[in-house]
Amino acid sequence: MLSLLELDGVSKSHRGRRVLDDVTLSVAGGTFLAVVGPSGSGKTTLLKTINRLAAPEEGRVRLDGGDVAALPLSELRRRIGYVFQGIGLFPHMDVAENIWIVPRLAGAPETEREGRVAELLDLMALPRSFASRTPRALSGGQAQRVGFARALAARPSLMLMDEPFGALDPVTRDALGRAYRALHDELGLTTLMVTHDITEAMLLADRIIVLIEGRVRADAGPAALIAGHADEAVRELVAVPRRQAERLAALAQSG
């Protein structure tokens, strides 16, 4: 299958410590890939080398066969949707202006704005009346839905998501996760999601990469991963949600 995204021997250090150590990776179009690992394992940095919010010291990142380092920065980032834990809606713009920012930067005609914004609000299951609200008037979940709408506005082929549900309460988190997964399939997106929540990764992704100390220590589908892995540290990491699920199941049965 043709790969949309390729990382080839990507390495990066921070203050003398290797954050990414020779990461090589190929992601086929349409994949929902989750990157998991303990804190400080280099997950976020890996994601940022793709849209060049971080520059690798060695190695290459290719998108659609072209080296990302060769593209003008702003053009590259407009081709990639970016969603992160901090949400980062622009507080001085209303919801419509936030959603329309990427097409606006790309020079899309203003006449298309209203229709596209309405479409994206529908897509994210937000009322259309939200278009004129300020970000301050939104709940956390609503704000991140607008964050998703903003990332999707310019019809990117690749979505990069860094702990996108990290700041949300468990119920909202679950609902938005499932809603996004449905969108991913419906729109034929390719998604890279960084999360430290193994359960979330297992439930949403097609493929999971375990990153420990900057190295890829496991690369498998959720079912294969939960069934067991040769690497001790990976097994440890996966064992936690599994034990929790078993205890919850036991509780449910005894009740």
Binding site: L73, R77, Y82, I87, G88, P91, H92, V102, L105
Partner: protein, 514 residues
Amino acid sequence: MNAALREAVADLPGLVAAHVLLSGCAVLIGILAGLPLALWAAGSGRVRAPLLGFVGLIQTIPALALLALFYPMLLVLGRATGLGIPALGFLPALIALSLYALLPIVRNGIAALHGLDPNVIEAADGVGMTRWQRLRLVELPLGAPVILAGIRTATVWTIGAATLATTVGQPSLGNLIFSGLQTENWLRVLVGCAAAAALALVADGLLALIETGVARRSAWRLRLGAGLLAGFLLAALWPSLGASPADRTIVVGAKNFSEQYILASAIETRLAAAGYRTERRDDLGSAVAYRALAAGDIDVYVDYSGTLWTNVLARRDNPRAPVMQRELAAALARRDGVRVLGALGFENAYALAMRRARAAELGIKSIDDLARSAPRLSLASDIEFLSRPEWRSVAAAYRLRFAEQRSYNPTFMYRAIADGSADVMSAFSSDGRIAALDLVTLADPRGALPSYDAIILLSPRAAKDGKMAAALTPLIGAIPIDRMRQANLMVDRDADKRTPAEAARWLVAGIERR
């Protein structure tokens, strides 16, 4: 309305225009220089600390000293480059005030840009904004209220500090304050202060309106504030916009005491009668005044032979008056192209004076007598006197040493001698208050104090203007000491006080009647 108030109010429009123009330009330059600096420092930790240190350091220099420093700096720069850089007036005042405006603008600018939510900045980068787009679309709009607050602070400070521009020969509302202080015309001081305070309040209020307009994204507040600000600037600058720059204006200089204001007014009266347009540069320091004349920043002023002899020519000998005047005229013409038009007819020499009763009690008639009692007495002097060569000369000739020496501005120096808080003072022989306060001047048997004939000096450019010299020649030899003392007293006394312009009219009318 009394004459002093009428004159102060009549001076107001021109001074307000000059004040607003100066403060406005200074704040504008502060913004144009300060915002890029703040932007640079906000992005670089290595720049931030030194920059904040530097602008903070400027702020620790007293505004008056900062203004004074630019005069010699520009003078040297003008000589070194051979360019006609004006060392006096608008330029030094503008530079000093612009530097002064930097601190609040830079500090708030850095706080505004550096303190933005990092998530918003990450989002701006993430959606693909260029550096410039991020600044224009995100950082400036979000930082605007804090940046504007800095500009507002800078504006209020600058309007206040601009009153000090008077001391480097730039007209401002300080003219009313300084000349009012020198002539004890408190109404004039009050008008100056009130006008400066009103300007600051209006500017502050309008900028506050714009600031809340930006902070609340309220378009009508923004438009109203900007519209009112533009209207206010236009109204304030109206008097200077109306002036035609075609015919040359003669700049008349004056140092910072009543006699100088009166004589400058008398010169203006004569020049106006001859059809010249005139402009004043008041409250110039003694050393500044001559250099300003030689450099052509002012065209005419009155100075005193002894001052020029010792300060400008750095001569230590003490010839008789006619010899000194002759040599002075030759030396100044040769060296600087300055023309000595002639002596007005009176002398304003430095003298040491005491209350008559106190002098009699101590048996003091001459400086020789004073030298014996001096270690038990206190001296009140004007601000310049103790650093002048005349003082060094008289102190050395008579071995003078006082128990205490204090400097005052001339007005308060007379207060100190009158109320007994000083025993001896440095007086000016033409001062009307010597007779009015019943003071005696002490004889100088060793001839340590040079003569101080008041003389009219013309700048190199004015020296070539025969019509101008002709208009001023009637003043030469026409002002005897008692007339000058009387004119000075009219201005300096507490009761039935006159303004310098009124005293000048009285003086000139007396000359023209003869």
